[in-house]
């Protein structure tokens, strides 16, 4: 303390001479460090974005010639010239349909209950904690759950989109709940009060007013959750969706495979002709993800209201 007051007193008596060589050197050093530091920041950003560019470029350059009408309409085969993506794509679509049919209603209902009805007590806290934890559980654990419960305990068909969709729904549900709760909290209380004021019941307030207004946010979250489920591989390997499927599945209980698993299977092939096919399949998968994320961003920008 004493020392600081001495310095202050000194400075007051003799203002610092900023023009001396030593001072200028010091300032130059500090500014150099400043530039260096922002340069390192820029470098980090460039590295991250550059890696993204490299990855996309490698996939595009490697796979663009593998895309053809046959590739888009045929199914898996032993001959790399004959293989196609349609079987896996159809498997993915069926799986996603099951996932959406289960996770969206349950997720939205949970979000509505927690935001609009749940009393602040220990049970609610336990439910909230378990949802947040489920969102952080590694995906492969859901695969183990699917294997132990759906296949070995309930004896549901192996390799089927039904079981794959159920497993992914467990994974997607917490994402939808969290997005749904945020969307529902964003609806201003005045809307609820106005509806209650003219005689609507609590259920009517929620289902006629709050939910429609929160819908864009909920749908955005749901699409993002579904996009994540579409790219998921590990849990589906656990429940056997890695079979060789030469014909597209015709229903949700038929054996099937999905796009990411097909990519994994082809990447394991020894025949180098599969390299091009794998990259082409990755392009198809990334295109789907791009469409879904684009739709989510569009929904958010187009319909989201700021109060």
């Amino acid at each position: 303390m004493n020392k600081i007051s001495e310095i202050v007193a000194d400075t007051v008596r003799q203002p610092t001479d900023w023009s001396t060589a030593a001072m200028r050197r010091r300032i130059r050093k500090r500014y150099l460090f400043e530039r260096l530091f922002s340069g390192v920041g820029l470098l980090a950003m460039v590295l991250a974005v550059g890696f993204l560019g490299l990855l996309l470029w490698v996939m595009l350059a490697g796979g663009i010639h593998g895309l053809s009408w046959t590739f888009l309409t045929a199914s898996d085969a032993t001959d790399p010239a004959q293989v196609g993506i349609w079987g896996a794509l159809k498997g993915s679509l069926l799986t996603m349909a099951v996932t959406a049919a289960l996770s969206i209603p349950i997720g939205v209902m949970t979000a509505v209950y927690l935001e609009e009805y749940a009393p602040r007590n220990r049970w609610t806290a336990i439910i909230e904690v378990s949802i947040n934890n489920l969102a952080a559980v590694p995906s492969i654990i859901f695969g183990l759950l699917g294997l132990a419960i759906f296949l070995n305990f309930l004896h549901l068909p192996r390799s089927a989109p039904l079981v794959g969709g159920m497993t992914l729904a467990l994974m997607t549900m917490p994402v939808i709940v969290i997005a749904g709760r945020n969307a529902i909290t964003a609806v201003p209380p005045s809307i609820r009060e106005a509806a209650l004021g003219i005689g609507a019941s609590k259920v009517q307030v929620v289902f006629h007013h709050v939910l429609p207004l929160a819908m864009p946010g909920i749908l955005t979250g749901a699409i993002i959750g579904m996009a994540r489920a579409l790219g998921e591989t590990a849990p589906l390997l656990m429940i056997g969706m890695r079979a060789f499927i030469p014909t597209p599945p015709s229903g949700i209980t038929e054996p099937a495979t999905v796009l990411p698993v097909q990519i994994f299977l082809w990447s394991d092939e020894i025949d180098t002709a599969f390299v091009e096919k794998t990259s082409a399949a990755i392009i198809v998968l990334l295109a789907f993800l791009l469409i879904m994320n684009g739709a989510a961003i569009y929904l958010r920008n187009r319909f989201e209201k700021r109060w």
Partner: protein, 465 residues
């Protein structure tokens, strides 16, 4: 007897139930309207609420019944089968009998063309008959429930009847049931992992699994001796790839990205760069894994040759770790971004007003103040990295090496779970069960990391609020 697939598919059933519900709804609404008109006053509830009440009574009991019926009908079919004369000389061992019965089932519902075992052929007909009988019985009971529910609901529609309260009670209780799903799933994970792990530890001692250093699971066990279930090399591989190499890549780049985005980038640039980072987070891990195996793996191998390693493999801890690090960058960056933005601007302004440069402000004021949030983000990232599967399966290899050489092939907990469970082995074998023990370890550790990370971040937020 029908040997085709049953026409009563899930989807048809759903259509029938939905149209019944709709019909009941319309009838209920008209009934309520005529009742109100006859009484010449408005009822307690709207016609549409009466209609929903009637639709619920028509559909819900039958739907619930159809949902639980398969569990009973399977038992009944089995009972009918075992009392059939053709079942007299079934094999006595449970496993053979189950195999035979499932073959006969396949024949009965048309999924199998021809029987492998002649006895299954004999059993197919009684099974088909029994399934047919109980399907008809189940549908009959469901139809009766529909009629009974409809009649009950229809005659309760009166102007004074409080249909809205009843319907809303059902709505709210279904919300409660939905929100309990999360609990059920958590419970299911814990119970199934604990149960299978318990069975594994009946076969293999706990201390061998947790402290053994030799991993090469076998189908046949020699009791009293180490059987190659020592998971230490897997734990080390997981930490080496996920917590050391990946974090060495992701932490500096992620934090610097956050600093650049929040402190240096112009708002326009920021609005472009942030979505780009989000794209990085949205790329499926199988794509990262393919990139690591196809592009980075050979590069790392060449590098290993250049530094003088003999016969390196293209599968290495380094290739997997680097790509995993890149995958994690957006997570660390967004967590650091949030915590830097949460530092009160008075602290930043104060430092700048005293004459420190931007870099000095960031390093001496902002980062120390945001450190708990950044650490929390790194812990979350570690938990994500050790649970990551596809990158390590495709790029790190399956060799359980206990090595600190980044050019060597290592394996991780998740990669071994995939390896153990994707063959066609017996479900009861120690090899399969060990995957659940590994899963339990993974679950517990990621859970702990998350709890710690969330606690740190929350405390820190409170400190500035």
């Amino acid at each position: 007897m029908s040997c085709e697939r049953p026409a009563v598919t899930l989807f048809n059933m759903f259509l029938v139930i939905a149209s019944l519900g709709m019909a009941a709804w319309i009838l209920g609404r008209d009934r309520a309207r005529t009742m109100f008109a006859r009484a010449n006053r408005r009822g307690h509830s709207l016609p549409s609420q009466h209609a929903s009440y009637l639709a619920l009574w028509t559909v819900a009991p039958a739907a619930l019944f159809l949902f639980i019926w398969p569990f009973f009908s399977d038992r009944l079919v089995m009972h009918a089968l075992l009392s059939h004369p053709a079942a007299k000389n079934l094999p006595t061992t449970a496993m053979d009998r189950d195999a035979l019965i499932s073959e006969a089932m396949g024949l009965a519902d048309g999924t199998l063309e021809a029987a492998f075992n002649p006895m299954a052929q004999q059993l197919a007909k009684p099974i088909g008959d029994a399934i047919h009988t109980y399907t008809i019985l189940g549908l009959g009971i469901a139809a009766a429930l529909v009629v009974a529910g409809f009649i009950f609901g229809y005659f309760r529609i009166k102007p004074d009847f409080r249909a809205r309260h009843k319907v809303e009670q059902v709505v709210v209780s279904s919300l409660v049931v939905a929100s309990l799903m999360a609990l059920v799933v958590t419970f299911g994970i814990v119970v199934s992992l604990l149960f299978e792990t318990g069975r594994f530890f009946e076969l293999v001692p706990v201390q061998e699994f947790l402290f053994g250093t030799h991993w090469s699971p076998t189908e046949t066990l020699v009791p009293g001796e180490p059987n190659g279930f020592g998971a230490v090399p897997l734990f080390w591989g997981t930490i080496f790839v996920g917590a050391i190499i990946a974090m060495a890549v992701a932490t500096p780049i992620g934090v610097m990205c956050a600093i650049y985005l929040t402190q240096y980038a112009a708002p326009r640039l920021r609005s472009w760069l942030k979505p780009l980072l989000e794209i990085l987070a949205g790329i499926p891990t199988v794509v990262y894994g393919y990139f690591a195996a196809l592009t980075l793996g050979p590069l790392v191998r060449d590098l290993a040759v250049a530094v003088g390693m003999d016969s390196p493999t293209s599968e290495s801890a380094l290739a997997a770790g680097i790509v995993m690090g890149v995958m994690i960058i957006p997570l660390i960056s967004s967590m650091s971004d949030d915590s830097i933005a949460a530092v009160p601007s008075a602290m930043r302004d104060g430092a700048l007003a005293l004459g420190s440069t931007k870099a000095e402000t960031i390093l001496k004021v902002l980062v120390p103040a945001a450190l708990p949030g950044i650490v929390g983000g790194v812990l979350l990232a570690v938990s994500r990295a050790i649970g990551e599967t596809m990158i390590v399966v495709m790029a790190a290899g399956m060799a359980a090496n206990l090595t600190a050489n980044p050019f060597a092939s290592v394996t991780t907990v998740t990669a071994q779970i995939v390896q153990l469970l994707t063959g066609d082995q017996e479900f009861e074998s120690a090899k399969t069960l060990s995957a659940f023990a590994l899963g339990l370890v993974l679950f517990v550790i990621t859970l702990l990391l998350n709890v710690i990370a969330v606690t740190i971040v929350k405390r820190y937020r409170e400190a500035y609020e």
